[in-house]
């Protein structure tokens, strides 16, 4: 318990650090949301200054930071100047869409990577393993964006898949199963790109840690005992291979909010990605900061989750 408490405190400190640094960097960057107004001849310098003062941007940095923290604690996450609304309500729908996309993709990627990596580790040196290695290396070398574009071209050419959005027009009038199918249909391409992007890393890690477990002396001796394959896999090899994979799964969880941002923009998925990009372009600082902090929170939570799981799974960590 003390271990978990310490890790929790550690994570919170990290988040505070991220927010302070983000504030400092935003301060260093020239200009703010109202900079554009100065180039507009219809708006006088006084008006621009008054707008800045009204939105609190002229207050000293520590004061703004304190106000922001208070707003986070209320669940507002600051005030978006571009949308003229607290950030919180703007985010939640987008977060849901992003999580639907990345959650599905991450789940599918692991679902494929685990058996594939295990099989690769047991089939080392065979042509099947070599083929899978070459294919995965190619996938690793192809940027996700290129994949996204290729998928989009295919969607346009064939017409089998939609080229953007999350639902079809008139979605609300569909029955419940039809709605689910419609979302899945829209989800297929962006999720496919993400799965293909995640797969090489995951498979390689699974293969490496499984190979290490298979070659470890105790697994050899378990095989010499004549322990059946299934029991060997589930009782001996998987627990032994689990540690690096748990860490990786924590990281997978941690990137749920950030992994798909670019893909969302390119493939027109109404998640955090397009919102984030607009906010950066408009220098809508509160919105940018909220996305940064949320992503960082997921990363911290993912690592914390992995640590707790490792602590529970591995007697050697508990003994320290």
């Amino acid at each position: 318990m003390r271990y978990i408490g310490r890790r929790l405190l550690h994570g919170l400190l990290l988040l505070v650090g991220v927010s302070v640094l983000s504030f400092a960097f935003a301060e260093l960057a020239p200009g703010d949301y109202f900079s554009e107004l100065r180039t507009d001849p219809r708006v006088s310098a006084e008006t621009a200054a008054a707008l800045r003062a009204q939105s609190g941007l002229d207050r000293p940095l520590p004061v703004r930071y304190a106000a922001w923290v208070a707003s986070v604690l209320r669940g507002d996450f600051g005030y978006s100047l571009a949308y003229n609304s607290p950030v919180g309500p703007l985010l939640w729908g987008r977060v849901r869409a992003t999580l639907l996309l990345t959650g599905t993709a991450t789940f599918l990627a692991w679902l494929i990577a685990l058996p594939l990596g295990i099989w690769n580790a047991t089939a080392r040196g065979t042509w099947g393993d070599s083929v899978s290695k070459v294919v995965l290396s190619c996938l690793l070398a192809v940027p996700d964006l290129l994949l996204a574009i290729v998928f989009l071209v295919l969607a346009v050419e064939t017409g089998y898949f939609p080229t953007g959005g999350m639902v079809s027009p008139g979605w609300a009038s569909l029955s419940a199963p039809e709605r689910v199918l419609d979302v899945a249909w829209h989800l297929a391409l962006p999720a496919g790109v993400l799965v293909l992007g995640m797969l090489p890393t995951l498979v390689r890690h699974v293969r490496a840690s499984m190979a290490e477990a298979i070659d470890s002396p105790f697994a050899l001796s378990a095989r010499a005992q004549g322990i059946p394959r299934q029991r060997l896999l589930f009782r001996h090899l998987l627990p032994a291979a689990a540690n690096p994979l748990i860490s990786l799964a924590g990281f997978s969880f941690g990137t749920l909010l950030s992994a798909s941002l670019l893909i969302e923009v390119v493939m027109g998925w109404p998640g955090l990605g397009p919102l984030f990009l607009e906010a950066i372009m408009a220098r809508d600082f509160a919105l940018v900061l909220a996305v940064v902090i949320l992503s960082a929170s997921f990363l911290v939570a993912g690592n914390l989750l992995a640590d707790i799981l490792l602590y529970r799974m591995d007697p050697r960590i508990r003994m320290k």
Binding site: P217, A222, A224, G226, I227, R316, M319
Partner: protein, 259 residues
């Protein structure tokens, strides 16, 4: 007609991708005896040990155990045969699953053979623990809390729990300090006397082997170059490699121990 020997190996060979690890190995061994298998690293003795226990499948030749040709068995029969032939690896300390308790380790070979009930398995395990000189209370201790010598004993206890007939120890003494080596050696001799176990000891250390073995086979480049009773081998080594090994271990034992 002569009675079949307990173990008879005929023209055994193993190749990896066309390269032989050892070839045309032929010897026999009577029940309750100990064969020392010595030779330099890379001479093929570990691979031979793995083939004898069917951890690796030999590519040629036959292994006859108590009048049965093990190479002709199907998978199921071979799985049953594994109970008769137990292999204890190099570095026994790391050959135990660190997540398991002593009880889980010793009972697992029994469990996979559906031996008895959970209760009788534990009973058998605690007997095996006692045989190797570990306290029964240690059954619930996780494997990684044992010392190196204790893990060695635990590995032997696991092999003994299913009452094998042939025990193959592949460099299992390497890395143990001398007093523990002596304890384990005495334990093996005692078990042999009481249960009529047959051992094959694989080692590069001739000095260790001749204390335990009745006969010694010397391997070089994948073949047995000399095979004789210990007394003969020590008195009249024939092969240059045997002389070399003998000189090396004599030099060590004369320098080291205070007699």
């Amino acid at each position: 007609m002569a009675v079949d020997p307990f173990l008879s190996v005929r023209g055994l060979g193993k190749s990896f991708a066309g390269r032989p690890a050892f070839q045309n190995v032929t010897f026999s061994l009577e029940r309750g005896r100990t064969l020392g298998l010595v030779g330099p690293s890379g001479s093929g003795k570990s691979t031979l040990a793995r083939c004898l226990s069917f951890f690796d499948i030999p590519t040629s030749g036959e292994i006859w155990l108590e009048g049965r040709n093990l190479c002709a068995l199907n998978r199921r029969q071979r799985a049953a045969m594994r109970a008769d032939v137990q292999l204890i690896f190099q570095e026994p300390a790391s050959s135990l699953n660190p997540r398991f308790t002593a009880a889980q380790i010793v009972t697992e070979p029994l469990l996979i053979r559906r031996f008895g009930t959970a209760k009788t398995r534990i009973l058998r395990a605690s007997e095996a623990m006692e045989t190797v000189g570990l306290p029964r209370q240690a059954l619930q201790t996780p494997a990684l809390e044992f010392s190196g010598g204790e893990r060695q004993r635990l590995a032997i206890a696991r092999a003994l729990a299913i009452e094998p007939k042939l025990l193959i120890l592949d460099e299992s003494f390497a890395g143990l300090d001398l007093s523990v080596q002596a304890q384990v050696a005495n334990l093996l001799l005692d078990l042999q006397k009481r249960r009529g176990l047959t051992y094959i000891l694989v080692s590069h250390d001739l000095a260790l082997v001749w204390r335990l073995a009745g006969e010694i086979a010397v391997m070089d480049h994948g073949s047995i170059v000399e095979h004789a009773a210990v007394a003969d081998l020590l008195a009249r080594p024939q092969h240059p490699l045997t002389k070399e090994l003998l000189d090396a271990s004599l030099a060590l034992s004369l320098d080291g121990a205070p007699a």
